[in-house]
Symmetry: C2
Subunit: 148 residues, 2 copies
């Protein structure tokens, strides 16, 4: 079957579910968006608000409020940059780091379970293919502009 849209439709829904189901850690209820924010802060080195918002393609105002929530939950710390006083640098608190790591573990556990339904060869092929796909998407010129 060559209908790509069908494949992506199902995949998208499943990814959504996967991300939804992963994120209850030790009393904290983390939304999908919030888990993505934590992930990116963890990955990047004391990034600014702009950087993360742009990476996640989020509206900066929505992002600002999400960060406020995460700061209230004591998962994220906002430090004013000494270089540029307009900029807020983001980092995870100890708790935030713990939550991010926990989510990472459960996600990888989920994914391992999923991949356990494939044999070793298929597993490697799929992983390599997803990397290829990621690469292709990053090269795409129409990625973030509306198509008609």
């Amino acid at each position: 079957m060559e209908n790509k849209r069908e494949i992506f439709h199902v995949l998208t829904r499943r990814f959504g579910l996967l991300n939804k189901n992963c994120c209850s850690v030790g009393g904290f209820d983390i939304s999908t968006v919030q888990s993505h924010i934590l992930y990116e802060i963890d990955k990047q080195n004391t990034p600014s608000m702009q950087q993360i918002a742009e990476t996640l393609a989020m509206d900066i105002t929505t992002f600002s409020r999400q960060i406020q929530t995460l700061v209230k939950m004591e998962l994220v710390k906002k430090t004013p940059s000494s270089q540029d006083k307009r900029v807020s640098l983001l980092s995870l608190t100890t708790q935030g780091k713990f939550v991010a790591t926990s989510i990472d573990h459960s996600m990888n556990a989920y994914l391992d379970e999923v991949f356990s339904h494939l044999n070793e060869f298929e597993r490697e092929t799929v992983i390599r293919s997803l990397q290829l796909l990621n690469g292709a998407m990053s090269k795409s010129s129409v990625c973030c502009t509306p198509l008609y």
Copy 2:
């Protein structure tokens, strides 16, 4: 050893963008969720509300309201079942069918563009891998049901 979570994190984000950018068709502004609803109604044969809500793993009350919106937009028609008067059968209006088809075309165009960055062999491998992955997810006990 590749980090699956990283791969999925990026893929999820990109898929989200893809779905977000797809959905402005001839004056209609369709949200991602709505496009998924249209897609499923189109695919299934006069399904009930429950069926689609369950397929998309949506809360039935949220779904009910989304359908009300789509009915107001004259994209979806709700017909009471003659078999069971509690049931509403869903179908696309002519306009709805047009919108669904347009979105389908845009999505496929986008995906073709993405895949154009791969060679023929990679393309086939990736498609086949995504199908494998879908299959594995459908077998998974930890997520992704009841999609099929």
